[in-house]
């Protein structure tokens, strides 16, 4: 098992290098030069001064050299300074925001798992029943619903018309001076809609996937055997079939991470949640290139780590992977 994990981590190194390379290249597509920000507004900036700045920042060196220099800093988590007014280190800005985004994504992942897996099992076991058909229609509608639109509708319904839930931010003004339980309840009320919205798309996908996995498994011979030896249907489904049907789900969850992280741009912007996605959107609108590059890099690295965790958990539950892996 340790061998497997070691190999898997070693495989991550070239991927991480590739991620940094793509991020670096994309940013170099930007028209103009980074020093334009410093010189464009200054009429006294001569060509000579620009040249000095360029050599000061190492911009007169060839692209590969600049990449290596940049990479050396990135390894030390030095992602440069934001162009924004505060001029703070990019890493500090990202570090503050990551917990919020990760918490919401973890909660919605949890919600997806809790709801989608039972739905998938039910649909498979009662294939072609009326309930299965209703759930199938729901799944198709779920695939086709733009999450930002769903967010708008929920905001209109629960925020404006019913007035039950707050529609922006993470806490109420009163929460600053309130007790623990009030803060907890307040936080939950603020998080309810964002978590629902970010989970919605994944719900449809995962329940569909669970259904087809389960259908595949319950057609297999060992399930017939289990039934033939007189086991109860609940035992056959719950113990024998479920285990094998659940395994591919781990991989799918790993694959869905980039979508969830990317989706945080949308729901954090709509619900005014101060997470990484909202900061990314702000950075894009302000053309804050160091910050954009930093978040792109961190976002991709998080995905890579998520996939690593998925692979390791898969190997933990499925001995065939860790014993039989030749790659």
């Amino acid at each position: 098992m340790m061998m497997f994990i070691g190999k898997r981590i070693a495989l991550m190194v070239p991927m991480l290098l590739g991620i940094t390379m793509i991020s670096f290249l994309v940013m170099n597509l930007a028209p103009g030069e980074p020093i334009d920000v410093l010189t464009n507004l200054n009429p006294k900036a001569t060509a000579e001064a620009r040249e000095r700045l360029r050599s000061h920042y190492g911009l007169n060196q060839p692209l590969p050299v600049r990449y290596v220099n940049w990479l050396k800093r990135v390894v030390r988590l030095d992602l440069g300074y934001s162009f924004a007014q505060d001029n703070r280190p990019v890493w500090d800005k990202i570090r503050e925001r990551i917990p919020i985004t990760l918490t919401i994504n973890a909660l919605s992942l949890l919600l997806i798992i809790i709801v989608a897996i039972p739905i998938g099992i039910y649909s498979a076991v009662h294939q072609n029943s009326i309930m299965d058909r209703i759930l199938t229609i729901f799944v198709f509608i779920g695939f086709a619903t733009p999450t930002f639109w769903l967010a708008l509708l929920l905001m209109i319904l629960f925020g404006v018309h019913l007035g039950w839930l707050p529609i922006s931010g993470l806490q109420s003004i009163q929460a600053a001076h309130a007790g623990f339980w009030f803060v907890l309840g307040d936080r939950a009320r603020h998080l309810l809609l964002p978590v629902l919205v970010s989970a919605f798309g994944g719900l449809a996908g995962l329940s569909r996937y669970m259904r087809s996995n389960m259908l595949e498994v319950i057609r297999q011979d060992y399930i017939t055997t289990a039934r033939a030896k007189g086991l109860k249907e609940a035992t056959v489904i719950g113990k024998h079939a479920l285990r094998n049907a659940l395994m591919p789900i781990i991989t799918i969850l790993g694959f869905s991470l980039p979508g969830l992280i990317g989706g945080s741009v949308i729901f954090e912007t709509i619900f005014a949640i101060p997470g990484m996605g909202q900061m990314f959107y702000g950075a894009v609108m302000a053309r804050d290139y160091p910050l954009i590059m930093g978040i792109l890099l961190i976002g991709a690295s998080l995905t890579l780590v998520g996939n690593l965790l998925a692979d390791i958990s898969y190997a933990l539950v499925d001995p065939r992977i860790r014993v039989g892996s030749h790659d």
């Binding site: 793509i22 940013m27 086709a144 733009p146 509708l153 404006v160 992280i261 959107y281």
Partner: protein, 286 residues
């Protein structure tokens, strides 16, 4: 027995038309084409005609779906918005399919180190949250409809590449390829004449589903203000106005979203229908 024979001999289009959901999807898709083509004739108003005396009017007899914050007719803007969605969907998917087909074919046909490199590139691209990547490129370039189509295309070819590669790995070993080679056919001829036509079926499915995905992405980008720019109407940027007038005008938020939902649903149903109709397991074993 006769039932079995009939199913076996049925053609692709017969099987597709037998599937009610797929037909519903097909009808939606065809209707949208018609609406896009005849937009100037169908739209009751000029989509960009500002009428400040009638701003934020709820749906009624003269404006069936109401008006927006500048008094423009929502229905007319939605009809013109259908054109944008269709254009973005097809061009973006065209780009993705082209890139994916070329890279997937090279990867599957030649194998070895080229295959390894291309597949690692696919893995790498899949690591980036695609929405982050798209936003980054938009930040670097300018938000315009052409850039949107290109960016969506360039960030969504990976699935097609994998699909084509897998198809080609199995086709490559078949006898008819050997036969073609023994007659002296070169690589290019084998790829273009014998392999790609046989590998296209799953690509058709993924392209149909891809149009739905591209329309969703475009609407999200336009909603965030970095996609199709106003005053050009797109369903996504119409919803931005809905968010700004959340408290006063629910119709701004409702109708364009319904249009997106139905369109995406239509393409998805059609895509799934094509997949089922192409799948030999569905008509041979029954």
């Amino acid at each position: 027995m006769t039932e079995q024979n009939r199913k076996k001999s049925s053609t692709f289009s017969q099987r597709l038309l037998h599937n009610k959901l797929a037909v519903a999807g097909l009808v939606v898709v065809l209707l949208l084409f018609a609406v896009s083509i005849f937009a100037p004739a169908i739209a009751p108003y000029d989509p960009n005609a500002i009428d400040l005396k009638n701003i934020l009017m709820p749906p009624d007899g003269s404006h069936l779906l109401g008006t927006d914050q500048l008094g423009r007719d929502i229905l007319s803007r939605m009809i013109w918005g259908a054109r944008i969605s269709l254009k973005v969907g097809f061009v973006a998917v065209g780009i993705a399919t082209l890139i994916g087909t070329i890279l997937g074919t090279i990867s599957g046909y030649y194998g070895g180190i080229i295959d390894m490199l291309i597949m690692r590139a696919v893995d790498l691209m899949l690591c980036f949250p695609s929405f982050f990547l798209i936003l980054t490129v938009i930040a670097v370039l300018e938000p315009s409809i052409w850039n949107i189509m290109a960016v969506i295309g360039f960030t969504s070819w990976m699935g097609v590449a994998r699909l084509i590669r897998a198809e080609i790995l199995t086709i490559r070993e078949r006898e008819f390829i050997l036969a073609a080679r023994s007659q002296g056919a070169g690589d290019l001829r084998i790829i273009l004449r014998h392999i790609i036509p046989n590998a296209m079926a799953p690509v058709l499915v993924s392209a149909t589903l891809g149009v739905a995905g591209a329309i969703l992405t475009e609407s999200a980008l336009s909603f965030l203000g970095i996609g199709v720019q106003p005053p050009t109407p797109s369903w996504g940027n119409m919803l931005t106005a809905g968010k700004d007038n959340l408290e006063y005008a629910w119709w701004l938020s409702l109708f364009p979203g319904v249009a997106i939902l139905i369109t995406v649903l239509g393409y998805n149903l059609l895509g799934e229908g094509i997949r089922d109709a192409l799948d030999p397991r569905n008509y041979l074993k029954k």
